[in-house]
């Protein structure tokens, strides 16, 4: 991926490419100095990166949602103690120490933001996307959630309440989207294909069965 590409998606302001490479050089210098001092171990850094690139991502959360759809007893445990219920599937730890699941219904739609920084439930969703950490989303999610949803292509009925969760503390919220019709009898693994990252943030809905390949 070229710097130009990353530039486009990172800078909504008038930055030039030189500042980006300046930061890249600074990160390299920091890593080199800290390694020289023995304060960090580059091999440990590699493991961290590999973990968040390949092992921890929104498929984890999709499995939680699918199980909640398919298994009423699990859904009940998820309501009572989401941290423990999510741990049953092997997910937990950093940035997911205190989980709460919130359920979408025809009457109420949930949407999650962190207006103050980038708080996000890493163990179930992976690292947050750039837009989640960006000023447009953080500024508007709490004052104009309906407008934000429209930009994601989501239009809710006018009477549907929109509940926005501002993650100001260490509690992390996972939205349980509504289960779409037409997926009766599906296995949990297949149901998980309907659960997008955005549907678990609340900026999307679960896919309909016809939107995924049979």
């Amino acid at each position: 991926m070229s710097h130009d590409h990353s530039h486009d998606h990172h800078h909504h302001h008038d930055h030039d490419g030189s500042e980006l490479s300046e930061t890249a050089l600074r990160v390299r210098a920091l890593e080199s100095i800290l390694t020289e001092k023995g304060l960090i171990d580059p091999a440990a850094l590699d493991v961290m990166i590999e973990t968040y690139e390949t092992r921890i991502g929104p498929r984890n959360g999709a499995r939680v949602v699918a199980k909640a759809w398919a298994d009423p007893a699990y859904a009940e445990r998820l309501r009572r103690d989401a941290t423990a219920a999510i741990a049953e599937l092997g997910y937990g730890g950093r940035q997911g120490e205190h989980m709460v699941a919130v359920w979408n219904t025809p009457e109420e739609h949930n949407m999650v933001v962190c207006t103050l920084c980038s708080c996000y439930p890493w163990p179930v969703l992976g690292l947050p996307p750039v837009w989640y950490k960006s000023a447009p989303y953080r500024s508007r999610a709490v004052i104009d959630p309906r407008g934000v949803l429209a930009e994601f292509g989501v239009t809710l009925p006018e009477a549907t309440r929109i509940k926005v969760w501002d993650s100001t503390a260490e509690v992390r919220y996972l939205v349980i989207p509504m289960r779409p019709a037409g997926a009766e009898g599906w296995s949990e693994e297949r149901l998980a294909d309907l659960v997008t990252r955005d549907s678990m943030i609340g900026t999307g809905l679960a896919l309909r069965p016809e939107e995924v390949r049979p």
């Binding site: 960090i40 171990d41 440990a44 961290m48 730890g93 120490e97 980038s118 996307p129 994601f152």
Partner: protein, 221 residues
């Protein structure tokens, strides 16, 4: 502090631009920035609240024109300099100019990464006393403008809401960020009506839930 990090309700940033099929990182430097930040955090020389404060004390023009990993990197540079772990001179030279000092915790090794991430950093603590509020109580957030770290956003100050959950006692960031200890306080989920937060013209279907520590709240008769 009333810094650029406190974005809720601001206007003029334009539309949200989701990137289809966004990769976890944009370029190798972001990967290293994340990992260096996590590895340095593991040295135990500062806590999560202090690292958030290091980021939010960037001057607003700089904060608002930096990408998120740039903000992280700039915050990390400040923390390392303040603790004398990497001096500005070393950063300029690109190499170590003095032997390291010992740190609160040893550097994390590759074999310790998985257990470290799996353990995370739980912030719930034994409460010092009973909770002042219960679910259903009407509360009002304080009007306050602390110069230090706080997690009560400006848009939610001086507003009346209803307690809808009692999360337990949690580390209090306003103290912990500044080295005054964890000072655990009760944490509540407080629900606000859109009209209470935004006044005339607010979408009547909007509710906002903000997690508020007890010192942020006063009872409403």
């Amino acid at each position: 502090m009333n810094g650029a990090q406190d974005l809720g309700g601001m206007m003029g940033f334009g539309p949200v631009n989701p990137e289809p099929n966004e990769p976890p990182f944009h370029g190798d430097w972001e990967k290293r920035a994340l990992a260096v930040t996590l590895a340095c955090g593991a040295l135990g020389e500062w806590n999560l609240d202090a690292s958030r404060h290091a980021r939010e004390t960037l001057p607003p023009p700089e904060y608002l024109t930096s990408s998120y990993y740039e903000i992280w990197t700039k915050g990390l540079v400040k923390l390392l300099a303040a603790r004398g772990l990497v001096t500005p001179g070393e950063l300029e030279a690109g190499r170590s100019l003095a032997p390291p000092r010992s740190t609160a915790k040893p550097p994390v090794t590759a074999d310790r990464v998985a257990p470290m991430l799996a353990r995370g950093g739980p912030c719930d603590r034994e409460p010092a006393g009973p909770a002042r509020f219960a679910v259903g109580d009407r509360v009002r957030t304080k009007v306050m403008n602390p110069t230090g770290h706080t997690r009560l956003p400006r848009y939610a100050r001086g507003k009346a809401g209803v307690v809808e959950s009692v999360h337990g006692a949690f580390v209090f960031p306003d103290k912990n960020a500044h080295g005054f200890g964890e000072n655990p306080q009760w944490l509540y989920g407080v629900r606000f009506e859109g009209a209470e937060l935004w006044g005339e013209g607010a979408d009547p279907t909007v509710l906002v839930s903000v997690d508020c520590w007890e010192p942020y709240l006063e009872p409403v008769a």
